[in-house]
C-alpha cells in the first residue's frame, strides 16, 4: 500500500506569516519598516548614514538595524548619524528572516520610532526570498556595477518597490548606460520607480525618507508584477489550509486544486 499526502504547503509559509504579523505589530505602533537589499559595496551604508543624519536634523524618529556576517563596522558608521542603531551578526547566514528580525527588535526598538531601516546582508540572491514584514522594499545598485544587474538578479529587482541607483557622481567615469539600466529594470519590474542618488554630492538626498514616510501615511506602494502571483498561502489568504489534505491510497490529482488558481483578492 502506498501512502501519499497532498500537503500543498508553501515552503516559506512560516516566514511569510511571521512577517505579516510583524508588519501588523509595527503598523500598530506607527512604525514603517524599510528593507534595503543590495550587493556588497553598493553604497547602502553611505546612503543610509546620510538619510539617517537628515532624519535626525528634521526631528524624525528613525532607527536602523544592520546585518552582516561579521564586524560591527556598519553599525559604527550608521551610529554617527545619532539615531539608534543595532548591529546584527548573522554568523554566516546569508539573509535575515522575519523571526530573527522580530527577535532583534524586541526590547530594542524605541517606542516612538516612525521609520525603521533594515540594512539586509549584502547579497542580492537570498534576502530576496524573505519577507521581513517591511512596508517598503528597496533594492540598490551602484553605477559601477553594470547595467545588467537587474537581469542577473531578477528576483531581487523584480520584487523591489523602489530601485535606487547610487554613486551617480561616478556615472560618467564608469561609463554608466542609464537607458540600458532603466530598460533592464522595466523588463523585470515594469512601473517601479528608479531613484538616482549620490551620497557624496547629495543628489536626491532625503527622497528615500520621503518615500518611506508617505508609505507610513498610507500612500499606495508599487506592486511588482512578480509579487502579483498569489503565493500558495499569501498573507491574508482567506482559505489557508491549516489542515494538511490527507489522501491515503491512489491520489486523485485529476481534480483541479483551488490553489492552482491565482487569488483574485491579492491582485490590484
Amino acid at each position: 500500500m502506498c501512502r501519499l499526502t497532498d500537503l500543498r504547503q508553501a515552503v516559506l509559509e512560516r516566514n511569510d506569516s511571521r512577517a505579516e504579523r510583524l508588519r501588523t505589530e509595527l503598523a500598530a505602533r506607527g512604525t514603517v519598516a524599510v528593507n534595503l537589499l543590495s550587493s556588497p559595496g553598493s553604497g547602502k551604508t553611505a546612503l543610509l548614514e546620510a538619510e539617517l543624519r537628515l532624519a535626525r536634523e528634521r526631528g524624525l524618529p528613525a532607527a536602523a538595524l544592520t546585518a552582516d556576517l561579521a564586524t560591527e563596522n556598519d553599525a559604527r558608521r550608521l551610529a554617527r548619524s545619532g539615531v539608534p542603531v543595532k548591529q546584527v551578526l548573522t554568523d554566516g547566514l546569508c539573509h535575515l528572516e522575519a523571526e530573527m528580525l522580530a527577535g532583534h527588535l524586541a526590547g530594542w526598538l524605541p517606542k516612538n520610532t516612525r521609520l525603521l531601516f533594515v540594512e539586509n546582508v549584502g547579497n542580492l540572491v537570498c534576502p530576496a526570498s524573505y519577507d521581513l514584514g517591511e512596508s517598503l522594499r528597496v533594492v540598490l545598485a551602484s553605477v559601477t556595477e553594470g547595467e545588467d544587474k537587474p537581469l542577473k538578479y531578477p528576483t531581487a529587482f523584480g520584487l523591489a518597490q523602489l530601485v535606487v541607483v547610487t554613486k551617480q557622481d561616478l556615472a560618467q567615469a564608469a561609463g554608466f548606460d542609464r537607458e540600458a539600466f532603466l530598460a533592464n529594470v522595466r523588463q523585470v519590474n515594469p512601473g517601479v520607480e528608479v531613484l538616482e542618488t549620490s551620497a557624496r554630492t547629495g543628489l536626491n538626498l532625503g527622497t528615500l525618507l520621503e518615500r518611506a514616510l508617505s508609505v507610513g501615511e498610507g500612500a499606495a506602494v508599487h506592486r511588482p508584477v512578480m509579487a502579483r502571483q498569489a503565493r500558495e498561502h499569501a498573507p491574508g489568504d482567506s482559505h489557508a489550509h491549516a489542515e494538511p489534505h490527507a489522501h491515503s491510497g491512489p491520489h486523485p490529482h485529476a481534480e483541479p486544486h483551488p490553489h492552482a488558481e491565482p487569488h483574485a483578492h491579492v491582485q490590484g
Binding site: 500500500m1 501512502r3 501519499l4 500543498r8 515594469p190 508584477v225 502579483r228
Partner: protein, 126 residues
C-alpha cells in the same frame, strides 16, 4: 546560499505532517519550484540531503517539479512564457499591467511515506 534554509523549512513541515500521519519514514518529497522562485534545484537537493539527516526524512528523495513562468497582459490579454531573466512587460502593446500566472511557486506538493510493516500487518489481521 539560502537553499539550506529552504531545505530546513521543508524538513520541518514534513516532520510535522509525519507526526500527524504517524509515519515511520519518508520515501520522497515532491516540491513544485517555479522558474522565478529564485531557487536552484541542484543546490536544494544537496542541502535537502543534509537537512534530512537524523530526522524521519533520513534517506528521502527530493523530487522537483519545474513550473514555467507564464504572464498575461491585462490590457491586450496576450499570454507569454516569461523566460529567465523574465520579460514582464507586454511586448505587443507595451503595457506594464501584467499578471503573473505562474512561476513563483515554492511549494511542497506531496509526500510519499515509507511503507510501515506494522500497519500492513494490522490490515492483514482485520
Amino acid at each position: 546560499m539560502h537553499e539550506m534554509s529552504i531545505a530546513m523549512a521543508v524538513v520541518c513541515q514534513v516532520e510535522e505532517a509525519a507526526r500527524e500521519h504517524a509515519a515511520v519514514g519518508v520515501e520522497a518529497v515532491t516540491l513544485r519550484v517555479g522558474e522565478l522562485a529564485g531557487v536552484v534545484p541542484e543546490a536544494l537537493r544537496f542541502s535537502f540531503g543534509l537537512a534530512c539527516e537524523g530526522t524521519v526524512l533520513d534517506g528521502a528523495e527530493l523530487v522537483t517539479e519545474h513550473v514555467p513562468g507564464l504572464a498575461r497582459c491585462a490590457s491586450c490579454a496576450r499570454e507569454w512564457a516569461t523566460g529567465m531573466p523574465p520579460r514582464l512587460c507586454c511586448e505587443q502593446c507595451g503595457d506594464s499591467r501584467t499578471e503573473l500566472l505562474s512561476g513563483r511557486e515554492l511549494q511542497i506538493a506531496g509526500v510519499r511515506w515509507v511503507h510501515d510493516p506494522r500497519h500492513a500487518l494490522a490490515l492483514e489481521e482485520l
